[in-house]
């Protein structure tokens, strides 16, 4: 028997009738308005929508909560294979409660947490206590990757088999590359014993050195040390060769450069069992944003050029890049409120992922909505987790999204404990209204009535200015 690999504070399944939403699930070919009846956390009926005033359709019994979702969309819940929940050790940035609440607010029904915590998730003891905490605190199911090397030191393998037995989904030294090809090779060999994906943060530190942003015209202008694209792509090429040689299963995290997409495509052509992810920020923003010297735009890998961004979008469209991953990386205000070079790398992403992709890629016609939904859920399959599916008999893992809602990122604060969003202040289209994860309602946006009150009341009563 394989152990469980997702953990959360289990709540009883909810009963809910979601009425009249347009249901889009690319895997089941659903793309039509439907009523969704959920009982005990399971989808028990999908049927053509009944007009609210008339009888027929699904029974609207007195006991069931009805969500009138006409004009809104229901998607399978998103799965994020790459988040930093900062637990244990850096709970002032994020913890399992706030991080999974942020995930729920973003429409996610499962997330996978990285092990670069303090201490590193590199022993059964650390992983075991983390799993216990998740079972008490996590609002949506969380999976954990353990580190490949002890303390992310790159010198000694962790007890990978024991970590897998306890519930680790796989392994990564994310935040750092596995610099030594020999060390990585041993991990890939050991994967044959214990299974589990090996996920890699690819960066040659000899090339990235003290770089803080993409090397290009903007870094030349700002006098900031650059991280060349080839610091990522050369490592992807190297590790693809190792994956092929050892017939190992390898996933490349947060691709950022055109050369990296090309390296991944060639590796696949050569027959390597490799996959890749891209983040909403790399898919929608470029290094031009760094001209502001705002540390919200400092992340690793860095935002790169427009040509890189387009290559990532094309890679996602074609499927060379299988999935979207936020690399949600919370940092405290005081850590980010420093000169760019001194600020830690990373942006939050869970609460904005869908809206950013919808606004910047779907609305302008760069990607189909169905493609975005498929890629935002595909991380599950890559990590051997159940893929959220909208079908009768399935556990309810879904989100309700109002594509017509426009909002300013940060206007109501953030659900995450941290506010370092690279989309802060941006106007985005599409807002998650409701999320169900593992059968339970984990997020429900306070209804629009409140906002309308606020708008109509404020101007007349108080007037403007002083």
């Amino acid at each position: 028997m394989s152990p469980r690999r997702l953990f959360h504070a289990v709540r009883p399944g909810d009963d809910l009738l979601i009425r009249g939403a347009h249901v889009l699930d690319p895997r089941t070919d659903l793309d039509e308005p439907l009523d969704i009846l959920i009982r005990n956390g399971r989808i028990v009926e999908l049927s053509p929508p009944a007009p609210p005033a008339q009888p027929g359709g699904l029974p609207a019994s007195d006991q069931i909560d009805i969500v009138d979702a006409g004009g809104k969309h229901v998607f399978p819940g998103f799965v994020d294979p790459h988040v930093h929940l900062r637990t244990p050790g850096q709970e002032y940035k994020e913890d399992l409660d706030t991080g999974t609440a942020a995930a729920a607010a973003g429409g996610y029904c499962a997330v996978v947490a990285m092990p670069n915590t303090a201490p590193t998730v590199d022993t059964a003891a650390v992983l075991g206590s983390l799993i216990e905490r998740a079972q008490r605190e996590a609002r949506v199911p969380v999976g954990f990757l353990a580190s490949i090397t002890r303390g992310l030191g790159g010198q000694e393998l962790t007890e990978m088999a024991e970590l897998r037995d306890l519930g680790a989904i796989g392994f990564t030294d994310d935040g750092k590359p596995v610099v030594s090809a020999g060390m990585l090779r041993k991990a890939l060999q050991y994967q044959r014993l214990c299974g589990g994906i090996v996920a890699l943060h690819e960066e040659d530190p000899a090339l990235s050195a003290d770089g803080v942003m993409h090397e290009g015209a903007v870094s030349a202008r700002l006098g900031l040390a650059g991280i060349p694209s080839v610091s990522e792509s050369t490592m992807i090429a190297r590790d693809s060769a190792l994956a092929l040689y050892e017939d190992a299963r390898v996933h490349f995290q947060h691709l950022s450069a055109i050369e990296s997409v090309q390296a991944l495509a060639s590796a696949k052509e050569a027959g390597a069992r490799v996959s890749g992810e891209a983040s909403p920020h790399h898919l929608t923003l470029t290094d031009d944003m760094v001209r502001t010297l705002d540390s919200r735009f400092k992340m690793n890998p860095p935002l790169r050029s427009e040509a890189d961004r387009q290559a990532l979008v094309e890679g996602l469209r074609s499927g060379v890049i299988e999935c979207v991953a936020t690399d949600h990386a919370p940092h405290a205000v005081h850590e980010k409120e420093v000169p760019f070079e001194q600020a830690p790398m990373g942006t939050t992403g869970l609460e904005t992922a869908f809206a950013a992709l919808y606004t910047e890629l779907v609305l302008p016609g760069e990607l189909e909505l169905a493609t975005v939904i498929e890629r935002m859920t595909a991380g599950a399959g890559l990590y051997d987790l159940p893929t959220p599916t909208i079908a009768v008999g399935e556990e309810a893992n879904l989100c309700l999204v109002d594509l017509d809602t426009t909002w300013e990122v940060g206007e109501d604060g953030y659900v995450s404990r941290s506010s370092n969003s690279c989309f802060h202040g941006r106007t985005l289209h599409g807002r998650v209204m409701l999320t169900l994860a593992a059968g339970a309602v984990v997020y429900r946006r306070p209804m629009l009535i409140r906002e309308e009150h606020a708008r109509s009341g404020a101007g007349a009563a108080h007037g403007e200015g002083r």
């Binding site: 010297l293 005081h334 000169p339």
Partner: protein
């Protein structure tokens, strides 16, 4: 002052000034240069106002000339250096700036080893902020005094050919100079070892060359300081090889070419001793221009702007 352009609130980058803004500062600097020739080198323009010089990096020329500039404008001056201050005790830049802002300074002059520091400070204080060098990003008052020096010599920078030679990658002076020189109409070429020329530096509007082969086309050669530490990082194999390829000396210098340098000079590395001491070097004039130009910057930001003057 009939065509006075609106001054920005802060001087963070040369990009804060258009050509007429630069000319306005330089015209003002001309009048202050005259003050510096008097026996009593002082005008009452900023009497009763406070200027804080916040220096997180060692500096001789810039800090002393900012201090003198403020004093010659009759401002009260406070100098805060990172060594021996609360910065040493781990206070953040934001906390330091907010503490100093409680003294209600008219301006904060900041030098920092980090790009963007001046811009951050501007967001945390009501004072006008002057960037006295932020990391490898910009050093706008150095560029203004360089333009001032050239304008005095040539009348105009239009179509002047200026080569900037040396470690461009690590030079905030080079970046501000490229922007200021090109804005004033000059043709700028940067030249240095390929390891010390940033990729895509041409995006700033200059040409880039790896050798001095065509340096005889330059009217002015602006030589950058070669920092010894670059050698240890293997940007150049040795100072000897660097000097052999890039040193400006009498062998390379035509008699009608002029030489500039932001200081401090490594004699015998980027410049030969003979060139430093020759008539062709404008290095002394640059230093002298520093005080007048910084007086002009403080004056224009705090007093001279028609917009701000109307408020005051």
């Amino acid at each position: 002052m009939s065509t006075a352009s609106r001054m920005p609130r802060h001087l963070i980058s040369i990009d804060d000034l258009d050509r007429s803004g630069i000319e306005q500062v330089l015209d003002r600097a001309e009048s202050f240069a005259e003050v510096s020739g008097r026996e009593i080198k002082k005008v009452p323009a900023l009497r009763g106002r406070t200027i804080i010089n916040l220096f997180y990096e060692a500096s001789t020329r810039t800090s002393s000339s900012f201090e003198l500039a403020a004093k010659r404008l009759s401002a009260d001056v406070v100098n805060v250096r990172s060594a021996g201050s609360s910065v040493d005790k781990g206070e953040s830049l934001k906390d330091t700036v907010q503490t100093l802002s409680a003294y209600d300074p008219a301006a904060i002059v900041i030098r920092s080893p980090h790009a963007g520091a001046a811009q951050l400070v501007a967001g945390w204080t009501d004072a006008a902020v002057v960037n006295a060098g932020d990391g490898k990003h910009e050093h706008p008052t150095q560029a203004l005094l360089d333009v001032f020096t050239l304008r005095r010599r040539f009348g105009s920078l239009d179509r002047l050919k200026i080569w900037i030679v040396g470690d461009v990658t690590h030079s905030r002076v080079a970046r501000s100079d490229i922007l200021a020189f090109t804005r004033m109409g000059a043709d700028v070429t940067v030249c240095g070892p390929p390891t010390l020329l940033p990729r895509q530096i041409e995006a700033l509007g200059c040409a880039a060359r790896p050798t001095l082969d065509r340096v005889d086309e330059a009217d002015v050669i602006y030589v950058l300081r070669m920092q010894h530490e670059r050698m240890h990082q293997s940007f150049v194999p040795s100072l000897r090889e660097y000097a052999g390829r890039y040193q400006i000396n009498d062998r390379r210098l035509r008699p009608d070419q002029l030489v500039m340098h932001p200081g401090p000079v490594n004699r015998g590395v980027e410049l030969s001793a003979a060139v430093i001491d020759s008539e062709q070097a404008l290095i002394g004039e640059q230093v002298k221009a520093g005080v007048a130009v910084r007086m002009a910057v403080l004056y224009e930001l705090l007093v001279g702007s028609p917009v701000l003057a109307a408020v005051a």
